[in-house]
Symmetry: C2
């Protein structure tokens, strides 16, 4: 389907830009962002016209040791209130809840007692029933919800269709295409969008895209999905996110034509807050070890270990990956 | 036009991968590559299946001071022979000649006296007659030729059509789409490919793509053009090239399906030869100053100056660019 010129110069008011910096970027520094950083990010999102800000995970404190992570691994409502104060305008607030890693009945309070607006439930395709249980709980409590099916580049289209039909019959609001391994080219993204759209339109669901940059395609795939009619677009400042990182906010807002989005604010935040993080040694972004796992459609964990070990023997690493197969 | 699944898994034998590392990468270090580097690159291209290797510019020594540049600013035939020895298989050898900056009648020898196979003539759209003069000279001397019309993101489609028709009537072999400013999104690339193809098919010319990475679209645009039927695909190792750099060779060979291309060799060369360059302080690649000029469809010279000055005040730079307009 050819993209329409007028749609590229005009804009679609249904588009929602979602800042996932604290959440996906938190995977780069174990969520140890200062409150000053989080506050500046919230204010920047407000000024830049970003529609939704994801704070982090609602991880279970029974499963994860609080002393080993910064606050956004757990996203206590009090911690969020400390950052946003009395909300006046500004982005909606989202948190992510992983199936099997969240005490959702205990830790997710009724919406009218919480600063959170949206619960994003992340799962693998075999966990859809668990995701629907959490979505039903969150909807009953009053939240907007999404289901983010991860690592779909490893799934069969037939299985994806079954998952989408189950979600279509659930109360979920948004279904996300998540290229966790950064393994998809835009042509594949376009075909996936068609699959997701066919089910979403049937059940009246919105769709979203969350991309990784292993093959320098995070932004290209997000732009492709946007052109294909997907409305929820995830991005992070300077692409900060696990491994090769995500679609960069500065690229996405530069691409979108809605005048409410303010590119300058993104530049300013990166200048004042992201560069210092990099100078402190927090690492993310395109590099050959992530390209290798992306090309091979693998979880990036071996590439992350390569990075942590300070290795630069890319050729050897590539051979290691090939020989495992 | 929808890309065909079978074309993505199979391959098109007409595709030619062109390594432009010494030429576009040379703009990052004034062409001061060691002979050891150039030799390793040539051997890598040979092993990796790269079809054409561009060595550098045939710049006029009357206009440029030899003491201020490494050898690949001038590409003496003797310098190339020093690297390639007796050619046995391996990539074809190309050099770039800029309109108005090359003593082409003096410095480009008859092909049967030279190790060079292909002359790539670079020009802006108003220099087409000068380009055709050089192309005619090179063809008479026995070379394969291309015309690389630079910075077309600033040109009108009507002017591009006139230029293409002039080139169509010339003896040039390949016409290049060159996104010098890294300002094009894949949708725009697809439309441009249609314009170029309509003329190229009429005159029986091949087409090529040379992309820059200001908006992290160099590879995405190259893949788009490839899917649209463009056969000559420029890339550089690790994207080494002016400003934000180019389509990365490791991404392109990972994408192409012809088994003659050997991804491992690219990883190995980057490990052994590109990482040391970076450690010596040679700088290229995506960064916000290049995004800014890309978004504004400007020459990257102000962004290159920003980089050279070691500035990190991205927000101020963005404001400077906006206020100039």
């Amino acid at each position: 389907m050819e993209k329409q010129l007028e749609q590229l110069m005009a804009f679609r008011k249904e588009i929602r830009v979602v800042d996932a910096t604290l959440r996906d970027g938190g995977l780069c520094n174990d969520f140890y962002f200062t409150d000053e950083f989080a506050r500046a990010l919230y204010q920047t999102n407000k000024k830049a016209g970003v529609d939704i800000m994801e704070f982090g995970y609602k991880a279970s404190k029974d499963m994860f040791d609080e002393s080993k992570f910064g606050p956004w691994k757990f996203c206590d409502d009090e911690a969020i209130r400390r950052i946003v104060g009395e909300k006046e305008g500004g982005p909606e607030i989202a948190v992510m809840a992983d199936v099997g890693r969240t005490d959702f009945r205990r830790d997710i309070l009724p919406k009218d007692e919480s600063p959170i607006d949206m619960i994003r439930v992340a799962c693998y395709i075999h966990q859809i029933p668990g995701a629907i249980e959490m979505i039903e709980d969150a909807k009953k409590k009053g939240y907007k919800t999404s289901c983010n099916i991860m690592a779909i580049s490893t799934n069969q289209e037939a299985d994806i269709r079954v998952a989408l039909n189950l979600l279509g019959q659930s109360p979920v609001d948004v279904i996300y295409i998540v290229d966790s391994y950064g393994s998809l080219y835009p042509e594949a993204m376009e075909r996936l969008c068609d699959v997701y759209k066919s089910v979403a339109h049937k059940y009246g669901k919105e769709l979203g895209i969350h991309a990784h940059n292993n093959m320098q395609m995070a932004f290209a795939n997000t732009a492709e999905a946007c052109g294909d009619g997907i409305n929820y677009l995830d991005a992070t400042y300077n692409g900060m996110g696990r491994g090769a990182g995500n679609c960069a906010m500065e690229l996405l807002l530069g691409f979108l034509r809605n005048p409410k989005y303010r590119e300058y604010e993104v530049f300013r935040f990166i200048q004042d807050h992201i560069i210092p993080l990099k100078e402190q040694g927090v690492v993310w972004g395109y590099d050959l070890q992530y390209l290798a796992t992306g090309l091979l459609n693998q979880h990036p964990r071996s590439a992350i270990a390569f990075t942590k070990d300070g290795r630069k023997d890319y050729g050897d690493f590539y051979h290691e990956l090939i020989n495992i197969d």
